[in-house]
């Protein structure tokens, strides 16, 4: 139970601002996420939480350091291999949902499966139906995302992150665009997924209330992880 599924070693991420100045967003982060964990990343706005999540979620490459999955530094993989890993290893939930408005709810949830290279041990459509049913959006399966509520959109996004049955779910302020009540429901959903299905979840939040509900708190300050 205590094996780490992803490990960050001495991660730096910086951008050039203009021609001269370099902005360093992550300053030597070391972090290990263990199988089955439910962790919250907290920290003030601009401290580097999203940047860290993107590195963990293989959505962006760090400037230096190592990202180790299954004893392999995945930064040495080429783009196709990284894409495959992104498809199978991780599911990402964004604050802005990031659904495609021209696809229906069901098509959005199934989108990751259209790019899958692996053979499925299950029927993707059945799993999509199961997830929609479980999240209470089955009646909206043929609707378009811009025609449903924010809470429903985030449920679609969570279903999409789960469709490939990944080993890790990352959520960057998933309740940030929702009202408190809806936000609480979404948080309950994550808790449930972690408890009943032992899904590893890392989520970013700056609400201490939510952070308390998680089992582990990772505090980020000025590009560095202070407490884990």
């Amino acid at each position: 139970m205590n094996s780490s599924i992803i490990e960050l070693k001495d991660i730096y991420k910086s951008w050039m601002i203009g021609d001269e100045e370099e902005f360093v967003a992550l300053k030597g982060v070391n972090l290990s996420i263990k199988q089955g964990e439910f962790s919250a990343i907290t920290g003030p706005s601009g401290s580097g939480k999203s940047t860290l999540m993107h590195v963990i979620g293989l959505l962006d490459k760090p400037t230096s350091g190592e990202v180790v999955i299954d004893n392999k530094n995945i930064l040495s993989l080429d783009d196709d291999e990284t894409s495959t890993l992104r498809s199978e290893f991780v599911g990402f939930v964004f604050q802005q949902f990031n659904l495609l408005n021209k696809l229906t709810v069901q098509e959005n949830i199934l989108l990751p499966t259209t790019y899958a290279r692996k053979k499925f041990a299950y029927n993707p459509l059945e799993r999509a139906e199961y997830l929609m049913d479980r999240f209470g959006i089955l009646s909206k399966r043929s609707s378009y995302p811009n025609k449903i509520s924010g809470g429903q959109q985030q449920r679609v996004a969570i279903a999409r992150s789960l469709i490939m049955n990944p080993r890790l779910i990352l959520a960057d302020e998933p309740t940030g665009n929702l009202d408190t009540k809806t936000g609480d429901e979404i948080m309950k959903l994550f808790q449930e997924l972690n408890e009943t299905e032992k899904i590893t979840i890392v989520l970013v939040t700056h609400e201490p209330d939510i952070a308390k509900k998680t089992r582990r708190s990772i505090h980020v300050l000025d590009g560095m992880v202070t407490t884990t």
């Binding site: 993107h54 979620g57 959505l59 962006d60 490459k61 783009d79 196709d80 894409s83 495959t84 992104r86 498809s87 199978e88 990402f92 964004f94 990031n98 659904l99 495609l100 021209k102 989108l111 990751p112 259209t114 790019y115 899958a116 378009y144 999409r160 490939m164």
Partner: protein, 401 residues
């Protein structure tokens, strides 16, 4: 390949269904690009066909001797007398002199006038022509019914006439029933002995043609000729015969009193004009292609932010760069083919319609170039931004502004 392509096609078609405005605008751009080029070239070809139809009946081995300095540019028709000014008045002596020129096949005097011609059914103002028997050979006239007049008719001032098809059709019940009946013009009565086939030359087709000697009464009391046509066996001899004929005429006339024009020379000039018209058409076509292209480009670029974000989302859920490129290539291809085909079909329909009045024609090269260039622009501006977006990290693409 096919089972990999069909979901792509399906997803591209689904995209179009949900993105109607962009789809319509893009294919419209390509459609207009294809259509304007194909139509412009078709119209240009029509113009060319029309004008060359007017010239076709005159053989390339024809030398025309005209009084004055020849064509002045006005008038324009092959017999349009308005274009001529002053100069020599040719007569039978000139014909006799010219017959002595070595290497000449035909010498045809031409009397030309316009006047009222009465037939059995109707009357009409048309061309009255007096020529000799060689005229028909020289002009490649084909007889539709009856016969043409011969040497004897010419020397006997026979009151006979050969009618052009359109004239015969208008002043008699039926064109081929005119033979044996008579026509009246300028106070004389002529027996119709033949009708010649339609040539496409308006003046030829609506002329009444008689022996030139027959005109020497009321029609042409001065017994002069409007023009003299010379027939040369082959194109190579045109040059030498022309200069021989010139020498003969210079014995009697001043240099400025007549002009010798070779048909081949006119054809060359006409062909040069066509070359120029074609060049202008190609230029106009290229401009409309460019305008169409810029339109396509604008539509593609107007949606680039939205599409880059879409690419970021697709990449975030596992799409490889090649998946994105295949998707956008399929999409652009389908759009271009759709727009291009629509443009072609519309052009074909328009061309078929206009052909009723004007001999327009589709040109394969224009079709291929128009289709090819429009599609290439559509595909390039569909795929190029996608390629750029796919090169970004997924998060950069999602956050693209």
């Amino acid at each position: 390949m096919l089972n990999k392509l069909s979901p792509l096609l399906k997803s591209a078609l689904a995209d179009f269904r949900r993105d109607k405005v962009r789809t319509a605008l893009t294919s419209l751009g390509i459609m207009i690009g294809v259509m304007s080029v194909v139509m412009l070239i078709a119209l240009g070809l029509g113009l060319k066909n029309y004008i060359s139809g007017q010239f076709e009946n005159l053989g390339a081995n024809l030398v025309m001797i005209l009084p004055g300095s020849g064509f002045t540019g006005e008038g324009g028709g092959s017999f349009g007398g308005q274009g001529l000014v002053g100069g020599a008045e040719f007569d039978e002596k000139d014909i006799r002199d010219l017959r002595k020129v070595e290497g000449l096949e035909y010498v045809v005097p031409l009397v030309f006038k316009s006047g009222l011609i009465q037939g059995e059914k109707d009357e009409k103002v048309a061309s009255i022509m007096g020529v000799n028997e060689d005229y028909f050979e020289l002009m490649n006239s084909k007889i539709l019914s009856g016969v043409i007049f011969d040497k004897t008719d010419v020397s006997n001032n026979a009151k006979v006439a050969v009618l052009g098809y359109s004239l015969a059709e208008e002043i008699f019940e039926k064109a081929n029933e005119a033979v044996g009946k008579s026509v009246r013009t300028q106070g004389i009565r002529l027996k119709v002995i033949g009708v010649i086939e339609k040539t496409g030359d308006r003046e030829q087709d609506s002329a009444v043609i008689m022996p030139y000697s027959t005109t020497f009464g009321s029609i042409n009391p001065q017994k002069t000729f409007w023009s003299i046509y010379l027939g040369v066996p082959s194109e190579e001899e045109v040059e030498s015969v022309s200069s021989e004929a010139e020498k003969v005429l210079l014995k009697r006339y001043e240099e400025d009193d007549f002009a010798i024009t070779e048909q081949a020379e006119i054809l060359t000039t006409v062909n040069q004009i066509f070359g120029m018209i074609n060049l202008v058409l190609v230029a106009i076509g290229s401009i409309s292609l460019l305008v169409g292209g810029v339109g396509i480009m604008n539509i593609m670029y107007a949606t680039v932010t939205e599409r880059t974000k879409e690419i970021g989302i697709r990449r975030a859920v596992g799409a490889r760069r090649s998946d994105i490129l295949t998707q956008f290539l399929t999409e652009s291809l389908v759009l271009s083919l759709f727009g291009g085909l629509a443009g072609l079909l519309l052009s074909a329909a328009l061309v078929a319609l206009i052909r009723i009045w004007f001999p327009v024609a589709m040109n394969l090269t224009a079709v291929i170039v128009a289709f090819g260039v429009s599609s290439a622009i559509g595909i390039f501006f569909g795929v190029f931004p996608a390629k750029k977006a796919a090169a970004l990290s997924p998060i950069e693409a999602i956050r693209y502004e």
